[in-house]
């Protein structure tokens, strides 16, 4: 094993907090969301008026959803207005052809076992950045907008209806809106599996303590074994 030659403070506290709030909200939203779509628990006994079983699932889903939205906006705010260079998405420039060039290609080749060495990045590598953009940024935005549009359906004529009600006709009908929200939710478990695998693999292959870095904030640079 190579010695640790450098400790880098990559994920500052706001980023770590965002990550964990986001992670727990996604898990809670996925579970409550699937339950709302298909309530599997046996119905309670007694008068309906004393029971609030299903309404509680919906309530938790809405509460966590607003935490999720707030957290998402907070992360965007932090990216735009802080001086945290690892949190600014500065290296992510998919609109420029240069970004898709050598570094991206090298990383893809490395993942496809076409090269021996792993390109080293302190924060996200280009492939990870792209995955985060597609699944976390676009996925969350889609879920937030469709979610708020459905939430506004409960309050016709309200501020929420005025702000997000226009989304419903884009999907053709309320049913299609629900359906889209349901199917896109599945990108999150999909992403979580890829994400966890990639993190554990990088930790083992590069030994950069990327797994613990989201708790401690520190990533390690280790001495190259070949050089040792």
């Amino acid at each position: 094993m190579g010695r640790i030659i450098e400790e880098i403070y990559v994920w500052r506290l706001p980023v770590r907090l965002y990550h964990w709030i986001n992670a727990f909200s996604i898990v809670a939203l996925m579970i409550t969301g699937l339950y709302i779509a298909s309530p599997v628990i046996n119905p309670p006994l007694g008068e309906a008026v004393w029971q609030h079983n299903f309404v509680m699932w919906r309530y938790v889903h809405y509460c966590v959803a607003f935490v999720f939205i707030g957290n998402f906006l907070y992360r965007m705010y932090y990216a735009l207005l802080s001086d945290d260079k690892y949190a600014k998405f500065a290296g992510f420039r998919p609109w420029s052809p240069g970004w898709w060039g050598k570094p991206f290609r090298e990383q893809v080749e490395s993942y496809l076992f076409l090269r021996q060495d792993e390109p080293n990045y302190v924060a996200h590598n280009p492939v990870a950045a792209l995955a985060n953009f597609i699944f976390i940024f676009c996925g969350s935005t889609f879920m937030i907008l469709t979610g708020l549009a459905m939430y506004a359906e409960n309050r016709p004529g309200s501020f929420l209806d005025a702000a997000f009600g226009w989304i419903l006709p884009l999907f053709g009908s309320s049913y299609n809106l629900h359906y889209a929200h349901h199917i896109v939710a599945w990108v999150f478990p999909f992403y979580v599996i890829m994400h966890l695998y990639a993190v554990f693999r990088h930790d083992i292959v590069d030994r950069t303590s990327v797994t613990s870095s989201i708790i401690t904030g520190y990533k390690h640079k280790v001495e190259d074994e070949a050089a040792a």
């Binding site: 309906a48 079983n53 009908s173």
Partner: protein, 359 residues
């Protein structure tokens, strides 16, 4: 043809007193949900406005809208047809037929240019020049375009005219299109439902007649008064929904107890209509009241969101019928399998690499 009579004149000619006329006006304004201060306006309209000429066309449809309409109880259909509007052309209800009736339609279009209301029941097949629906020797496509050209406004009756209904469900063999895809330059009121509730239909007509303009519409072009909330929002079984007490099969005790039909595929939570409020057949019942889940008949493409008895629609994906959950689970499974395979290759490569560097 005599000049169109006003409401007050109709009352007079039938020997009814002014008192009766005013009573009627108050009742109408109450049923429209108007403030008492607006009563003089209603009286004024009924006294001075001639009855609105209406041309009612039937296209590719089943006539269930007309069947519903004639069962309206508040106001009764006879009142609407005889007093409020002047239903000059309706091939189902008119006594006249054939050339005689077509003659009337052309006459109204000429005499009341820009003033008459065009009510369309059914939709318009567009494939092969519209030959799949011929009316009076011409394609319905041409008839609609011709009649709409001089209309003041268009009322789209039912799911067919509003959104397409069964005729334009996949694969839509006749190229059937709702009215708003054919007529672009006229104000259109959509009154969806298969059929729409009778009182909703007559309510829309009463509104147009009384105020001389179309009712306030929502984003989908439906009158807000009747389509702003979902069946679910006013469903009398909502308490069971909130409690999580769901019917799980039609032969269960829970069905008899009248629990929520959510798990039986009820589309009430995504369907905008007034069934749970106004109900059907003079407020007798409505589908959920009779123990059947709502099929969402007033929603766009409701035939394609089937089956009726499941929450989650079957979607066509890579040539198979599947659901969102199945697609999602396959994707997640594929991700897990991919990760496992990638891990295995990584391990093999690493072992090889380690051996090589040992040499």
């Amino acid at each position: 043809m005599p000049d169109k009579q006003t409401y007050a004149e109709v009352f007079q000619s039938r020997g009814l007193s002014r008192r009766d006329f005013l009573k009627f006006c108050s009742l109408t304004s109450v049923s429209l949900g108007l403030a008492p201060s607006l009563l003089p306006k209603v009286v004024h309209a009924m006294e001075t406005k001639p009855r609105t000429p209406v041309i009612w066309l039937h296209g590719l449809e089943c006539t269930c809208c007309t069947e519903s309409f004639i069962r309206s109880s508040h106001p009764i259909a006879a009142d609407v047809i005889m007093n409020m509007i002047s239903l000059d052309y309706d091939d189902t209800l008119s006594a006249a037929a054939g050339h005689q009736l077509e003659e009337v339609r052309r006459k109204i279009m000429k005499e009341y240019k820009g003033q008459y209301i065009l009510a369309v029941e059914g939709n318009v097949p567009t494939k092969d020049d519209g030959v799949y629906c011929m009316v009076g020797g011409d394609s319905f496509l041409n008839v609609v375009k011709e009649t709409a050209a001089d209309a003041a406004a268009v009322i789209a009756w039912g799911a067919c005219a509003s959104f397409g209904c069964v005729q334009n469900a996949k694969p839509n063999p006749t190229g059937a299109q709702p009215i708003d895809k054919i007529i672009k330059d006229k104000p259109i009121v959509k009154v969806p439902g298969c059929p729409p509730i009778a009182e909703v239909m007559t309510g829309v007509i009463t509104h147009v007649h009384t105020f001389g303009k179309l009712p306030e519409l929502d984003r989908m072009g439906r009158p807000k008064a009747f389509y702003s909330t979902r069946i679910h929002d006013k469903c009398y079984r909502r308490a069971f929904y909130d409690a999580g007490m769901f019917v799980r099969g039609f032969d269960e005790e829970s069905t008899r107890k009248g629990w929520c039909l959510y798990k039986m595929g009820c589309k009430g939570p995504t369907t905008y209509n007034s069934c749970s409020k106004i109900q059907w057949n003079e407020g007798t019942s409505f589908p959920i009241g009779s123990g059947h889940p709502c099929i969402g008949c007033s929603e766009p493409n409701f035939w394609d969101n089937g089956p009726f008895y499941t929450r989650l629609a079957d979607v066509s994906f890579l040539g198979t019928d599947t659901t969102a959950d199945k697609i999602g689970m396959v994707a997640v499974g594929a991700a897990a399998a991919g990760a496992a395979a990638h891990a295995a290759v990584t391990a093999v490569k690493k072992t090889q690499h380690d051996k090589e560097s040992e040499k």
